[in-house]
Chain length 428, copies 2
Amino acid sequence: MTIKLGLLGFGTVASGIPFLLEENGDKITAAAKDQIEISKVLVKDEEEKTRLLAAGNDYHFVTDIDDIISDSEIDIVIELMGRIEPAKTFITKALKAGKHVVSANKDLIASHGKELISLAQDKGVAFYYEAAVAGGIPILRTMANSLTSDKVTRILGVLNGTSNFMLTKMVDEGWSYEDALVTAQKLGYAESDPTNDVEGIDAAYKAVILSQFGFGMTIGLEDVTHKGISTISTADVAVAQQLGYVIKLVGAIEETPSGLFAEVSPSFVPKTHPLASVNGVMNAVFVESIGIGQSMYYGPGAGQKPTATSVVADIVRIARHLNDKTIGKPFNEFSREIKLSDLSDVKSRYYFSIETPDKKGQLLQLAEIFSSEDISFEQVLQQKAQGERASVVIITHEMSKTALANVTAKLSEVAEFKVLNTFKVLGE
Amino acid sequence: MTIKLGLLGFGTVASGIPFLLEENGDKITAAAKDQIEISKVLVKDEEEKTRLLAAGNDYHFVTDIDDIISDSEIDIVIELMGRIEPAKTFITKALKAGKHVVSANKDLIASHGKELISLAQDKGVAFYYEAAVAGGIPILRTMANSLTSDKVTRILGVLNGTSNFMLTKMVDEGWSYEDALVTAQKLGYAESDPTNDVEGIDAAYKAVILSQFGFGMTIGLEDVTHKGISTISTADVAVAQQLGYVIKLVGAIEETPSGLFAEVSPSFVPKTHPLASVNGVMNAVFVESIGIGQSMYYGPGAGQKPTATSVVADIVRIARHLNDKTIGKPFNEFSREIKLSDLSDVKSRYYFSIETPDKKGQLLQLAEIFSSEDISFEQVLQQKAQGERASVVIITHEMSKTALANVTAKLSEVAEFKVLNTFKVLGE
Ligand SMILES: NC(=O)c1ccc[n+]([C@@H]2O[C@H](COP(=O)([O-])OP(=O)(O)OC[C@H]3O[C@@H](n4cnc5c(N)ncnc54)[C@H](OP(=O)(O)O)[C@@H]3O)[C@@H](O)[C@H]2O)c1
Ligand SMILES: NC(=O)c1ccc[n+]([C@@H]2O[C@H](COP(=O)([O-])OP(=O)(O)OC[C@H]3O[C@@H](n4cnc5c(N)ncnc54)[C@H](OP(=O)(O)O)[C@@H]3O)[C@@H](O)[C@H]2O)c1
């Protein structure tokens, strides 16, 4: 038997699939126990079809989704169009028609995954999406198959290649945020509207999916606090360096005694921490658990071939399950009731960069404000800033999110103090 | 139904299993779709049994393997005794009796895995051993399930925690090999006879197993060249630092145009390479492939809980396959004919540390010898050594193993030259 694929979209990732099927055909066929073949490819319109054919792409291109849905020979539909619609409608149609679906669409899965997953289950078909988190890193299947025996307590991830590329330039070369963004755009790493990448939204999508696999909780995007990298200044980067840290945009998901907490935020990462050496467009998922302790999964978070590799791995699993007649198991079976953490249980050290008037007694006043919220200092740096202003950098001892909100409110009441930035500080 | 386990041995790793079954019972049961229970535990003798019972271990201890083999209620036998015999005989008995087997015994699997694997296949039972390579890192199942779509071209692994702990101390603290060994022994990381760890034999076992999963070739231990860390001097470490490298004991398996080559050797790793920050007893497997490109899997290579976590992950997969009625698939299905590489195809840069007389013309003579084998220099450092001797450090451009053997032979013919050390130099 030959397993036939229907591709939806033939952009960056989709056009990487033929490369793997050709270059690695023997291994793929042996693992799947069947030949895998691209049967039809959905493109937007006749113009695109003509263009692709002219460019030498020898596929059966169609412009109507129903040509794929109604084709009973097509076993697996591969959605690689991106965006919510029409991807959602097309996937829904495919699942309803009893077809297995592979997707890399993190936006869609983070926001509407639940209904698609339950539709797939009702229909007894597979819905896999390894490529949706950290592109080429096989993290989801590893969590679903290997970390079953372990209890995950925290996941820390460098989950967005664009922002990590920019931060790497800001740390290693002292570039400003603006310079880094322009270069990222020139290199094609950042889109003309970079909001999703630099504001932590893309990483938040991935945090939603990681929460399912790591903690069994299908939280919503609105449950993931996110803060981007655009406010990071060269001064913040320099102070971090001086104190032995690098700044990374970290997606953090942890389980506290009261429940789950997920956020994406720029974080001070100790230089000795494995995540500190994840540079450029690379991604990594660092897992803390009661059994293994600490493990990390590192690789390219995007790119044609890495992402297509994850997509094809999903296809091979489905093909193999078809052969074994065990198809229909959910990609992730770990499921628990959602319980979100009290903010008072979410604890971390924090970095504060505060501008104060350059006169006596400022540090005392700051110390009093922090102390009133039971926050103590681990490190303090005081420097003269411009003109009549001084800059105070504080690394606190561990404190809760509640204390953070309270102290931030109190600081904002003092007209003379200006909190420039507040970032999380990770431990070793 | 309850899945019943028979444990062979109740040492470090085995006694970590109850911890996971208790602390993570809900998740494990949900993933396995059945309760998992330790039914019987084989110990050496009555004395051990009495000791363990007195220490509060409430298990059904037996001293005769046949009590487990003949117990038709026991589904899975977990071998955690170590060494070749009687482990091999016991596993063989268990497989013959139609029981599934989980083991962490790298020595046994690297040297006799082939026959045990084929026996398991004949009997239609599972034989899993995730814990045998890099303890807590779920690398084998990830290769078998996720890297199926990818073609691996090279694996580089920091595979031995003991030697990596020692090298980390030698690099970070400037300790000598001897000091590092004494401390490793004090901390229980190294055995009183540390040969297997420091001479690269333990890492070679793991390289054998990684060759199966990464390249589909079941090579023998004799096919893995190995060289240990005992000859590394503080001078080597210092020069490496100076040139931007750290020294690691690296297991390298690569496929050249003519076939597979595997070796374990101290290697200069560029400080910017992800393997360079794998420190202390941590392990990592760095994979180069045509699809993902570069990925790395990092975690503890040993220890009670990490290793038990991998063992229990195997148990959960078997239990689940029993439930799904798909039991009996080999752990690794990737299999190709063994073809070993010509040494002339195996290429790398090399570090040479050579002691020469402290007089004119030595470097020229060295350059002539290297040049006669078509080897050129990337970097040269010449320093005065003790007395009448000088020390020359050379980093070559890429050269083959054949050239290495030839130039080493030629150097040994010059009585005045003394090659102190030759190490591989990895690229970025
Ligand atoms: N690129 C990566 O490295 C990466 C990594 C991880 C995950 N992903 C995910 O993978 C998916 C695909 O990404 P990509 O980078 O391959 O995107 P892409 O290059 O933009 O490809 C998407 C393709 O789908 C086509 N398309 C859009 N709407 C369509 C429709 N209604 N019918 C037919 N074709 C349609 C697009 O055509 P037009 O160009 O004409 O709109 C485009 O050719 C996205 O969900 C993305 O988030 C990508
Ligand atoms: N420890 C790790 O971190 C780690 C990591 C990866 C893989 N592994 C592998 O896991 C396996 C177990 O390692 P371990 O560290 O747990 O070793 P261990 O602490 O020495 O435990 C082995 C146990 O088996 C017992 N035993 C030996 N022969 C026996 C026999 N014939 N019948 C019954 N019991 C017998 C030993 O008893 P005696 O002490 O009386 O001999 C000992 O209690 C080994 O194959 C090892 O290579 C270990």
